[in-house]
Symmetry: C2
Subunit: 108 residues, 2 copies
């Protein structure tokens, strides 16, 4: 259990809020695969994820171009299509530019 | 179980990722109070929240001034101080400007 750290703005956050459909239907394996593949992309900074009823995953990216490149990766496009058609009852994706950040413990 | 809707950018997201300390120590009651009080503030748009190990709460605000005003509300300042001193082992707060958003089902 660990939080994504400080990444020194400006950078981008993709806030993905969602409600899952019933059953797994391949979801868990793909989620794991996408977390690994995503973390290997250029410009990937980190990720926070939690689910309790609603799921929220926030990924952090150095630039808008980096997150667009990840969105276009072929295997990720398969995952996005299955997400829309099978795994998610509903979702909202927001792309936001981080302007400032602070933390406890205070960053050195 | 419901997701915050679409709010038509630009607007602001406050991404609060955290790890709780052990025990309640008044946390649950204050969290409920802050969710109610926050939702009554000018410029408040909505909120998504989930916890599974890591907690993530994302609140949405019309302007930076609106979220700064909420941060300065006296009762919220008490909650922030107790959060830092008692309830959170660690946290990161990020303030980000939402540039675009999309959803399933597609907004009409």
């Amino acid at each position: 259990m660990e939080l994504a750290g400080l990444f020194y703005p400006p950078y981008y956050a993709v806030i993905f809020s969602n409600i899952r459909t019933e059953g797994d239907a391949g979801y868990a394996a793909m989620a794991e695969e996408m977390e690994k593949l995503g973390s290997e992309q250029p410009g990937f900074l980190g990720l926070d994820s939690a689910r309790s009823g609603v799921g929220i995953t926030v990924s952090y990216w150095r630039t808008l171009e980096d997150l667009h490149a990840w969105k276009a990766v072929a295997r990720h496009q398969v995952a996005q299509r299955l997400g829309k058609e099978v795994w998610y009852e509903s979702y909202v994706t927001r792309v936001a530019k981080v302007e400032y950040e602070y933390a406890k413990p205070t960053a050195s």
